[in-house]
Symmetry: C2
Subunit: 446 residues, 2 copies
Amino acid sequence: MAQLRQLHLGAFLRPTTIHTGAWRYPGAFPDANFNFAHLKRFAQTLERGRFDAFFMADHLAVLNMPVEALKRSHTATSFDPLTLLPALATATERLGLIATASTTFEQPYLVARRFASLDHLSGGRAGWNIVTTSNPDAALNFGLEEHMEHDERYRRGREFFDVVTGLWDSWADDAFLRDTQSGVFFDPDKLHVLNHKGPYFSVRGPLNIARPIQGWPVIVQAGASEAGRQLAAETAEVIFGATSSIEEGRRFYADIKARMAKLGRAPDSLKILPGAFVVIGRTEEEAQEKRARLDSLVHAESGIASLSIALGHDASLFDPDAPLPEIPQTNDSQSGRERVLRLAAREGLTVRQLAQRLGGYAGLAMVGTPRAIADQMEEWLTTEASDGFNVMFSHVPDGIDEFVDLVVPELQRRGIFRRDYAGSTLRDHLGLKRPENRFFRDAVTA
Amino acid sequence: MAQLRQLHLGAFLRPTTIHTGAWRYPGAFPDANFNFAHLKRFAQTLERGRFDAFFMADHLAVLNMPVEALKRSHTATSFDPLTLLPALATATERLGLIATASTTFEQPYLVARRFASLDHLSGGRAGWNIVTTSNPDAALNFGLEEHMEHDERYRRGREFFDVVTGLWDSWADDAFLRDTQSGVFFDPDKLHVLNHKGPYFSVRGPLNIARPIQGWPVIVQAGASEAGRQLAAETAEVIFGATSSIEEGRRFYADIKARMAKLGRAPDSLKILPGAFVVIGRTEEEAQEKRARLDSLVHAESGIASLSIALGHDASLFDPDAPLPEIPQTNDSQSGRERVLRLAAREGLTVRQLAQRLGGYAGLAMVGTPRAIADQMEEWLTTEASDGFNVMFSHVPDGIDEFVDLVVPELQRRGIFRRDYAGSTLRDHLGLKRPENRFFRDAVTA
Ligand SMILES: Cc1cc2nc3c(=O)[nH]c(=O)nc-3n(C[C@H](O)[C@H](O)[C@H](O)COP(=O)(O)O)c2cc1C
Ligand SMILES: Cc1cc2nc3c(=O)[nH]c(=O)nc-3n(C[C@H](O)[C@H](O)[C@H](O)COP(=O)(O)O)c2cc1C
């Protein structure tokens, strides 16, 4: 029997969950974003659940919302991803480790070296989530009065990628002889000096670390704009999408795979994993109650602020316990506004509930029994709306434990998710080839 | 009985030993610079030996010597220090972890966050070796055609330090309430926005991570120039010196402590630890033989190149097996030349041996029995030539094992080195105070 199409699962952590009410949920670890013992436990649970990777988001500023809202959020602070993941590497054996690093505010030589170091330390489990950093507050921490313009960020990002991957190829796999007899440590013919000179960067090279175990750490992208999609189609091996319905998922999937075809890339050399917020209950009702409870922990005023932005209208004037009234059309963001109106109608939410949903997490959510969640995941997978998911947990630790103990076995029973890791590297888990060295024929090629 | 003055010991690793012949020594691990299992073992041995810290040097380029010499050196590649040390943090419990980071090529926001992350992950064991990076090849990897001028590097370094320490003070120690009842995660009154604007950096802040456990990670400096000494006297808590004799050590010690007195700093708020290359034998002869053998593993031509530079004269023209002939005076580096002539006369070395010494390691060395080495260390300590040493091991693992098993017990017997750690942080080991937060009165002050 041919093997069924396989689901890939990342765990989206920041380093905890994205829902701003989650730290207040009964039984949650309120300090999880900042407690290594907890994070180690999460990583080990994810490995037991055979996840492809632990994915660590990153934001280079605190003040990305007004302080009155921020003070209620556990996402205000976190570890640096490339400092946390090496520590988690020693606590796990197979789990992939994906860190976010910005092409707008970092230096390619340092990024290349750090990911190569993580890849070596972890036995080939590193991935790089390339972001151009959309938060304008980050610019203020890096000497810029204004954020670099969007398309320029992407041009710089593209050149950054070329430099980093060129540096990873500095050494042939068999460059290091370490011949104690002759006293030759490496073969100079197997060392390539990059000599990159471009509009944004001049980097001589070579990198002062051997080629990563995976050749290159896995290249991940999360950009949603035209420029972001194009960069992903050209360079990414994983996309973390933000599609919020299965129809949108299929359109995005088809769009990316069509761009790849034009570029001559094999469609399965890139996996599309939309973010999915998961709330698990023993019954449908229990799951819905859990979600309602989670949303109710979002501070109402913070939620109203989010709702006002989405509507282009001051929502604090509405009765919080009534349904959303008719609002006159404005010139502000139409698509955001309509999404909110549809959501309110579909779920029959009051103004307060709607506000708390937006302040918590309003993207793609799978709320239900383990079977119902597995059904949805299977449908996305089999109808080419995705190659898997980047799972966002409702709260920690329970959200992770429940997913691993209840949803994963259901996926395994259906034959669409691994029962054990087949290989040892993140590329192995994702079914991705080891890239060839552009300057040397590899001694060993996967 | 009053306690005797205590020795402090760092282990200088890169991440292995500095001697370019060491990887060829019988029993050495040739791949130690790049094998995490080995490095973990070294760190654990150092912790068993109650070392204050593991110190990781760093160089932001490969090509700091001609490739014909470089190809014989195990220092050509290594892990990124801030990726390696978090992994070593999980393998140890008390050992301090000092990483080098450059003020010339890095960004203060990222450096502040990474060291704060390491400090939290390790339970307060991080230190930052501030370097301005003297290797001009590094500039070519960071978009600069020419290296930044020396004094400008130091001006930038000083401002970089101010920004990083200001960012570390972004949060009061008791800022994080995590009050699940009220839903307030942190107290906005305990958050300080730096708003730094200076000639080199504009950084708004705040840092997106809590204040480090140690307040600030320990500040380490290794600059030797006038500007370097002054920066150290103003800011450093540890200096890794390069003094090559006890007299020079005493002069350097007195110079730094006098600079500190002028600045109103308490003399014991800074520890001076010169690098000391240690070769241990059961007898004096065995130690001398070991060193000669180690030097003989340095490729003669690489050594001759180093000797030629030191003499300002082509040393390949001399008979390698004869003593150094008379050489006419030149205008090149007088002090380096005289040091070499004195060394050749003192030890009666042939041209080849002298060349191999320079190609290996020609700075301060302690070669002898464990007792003789302890005698020297004690003399440096008691005559205020240093507060301890940054030990460079002859080769690994044996050099580390021998130091911990033979020299450390001898120092302990004399009452000048701890038998166990008294505290848990690197500041505790070094007897350094936790810096006060410049923006908030600390809730807990050491
Ligand atoms: C699932 C997901 C995760 C993301 N993680 C990060 C992140 O960690 N850091 C960041 O700066 N941006 C992150 N982004 C933002 C994207 O990189 C990107 O800036 C955003 O989707 C807007 O797309 P555009 O820049 O192409 O317009 C993420 C986006 C998605 C959908
Ligand atoms: C023990 C010791 C360790 C050092 N480690 C480093 C290092 O890891 N990286 C680096 O760039 N420079 C290192 N240096 C060089 C110093 O930071 C400094 O650049 C050098 O001593 C020259 O001093 P100056 O820059 O004040 O002229 C080290 C120096 C000493 C003495």
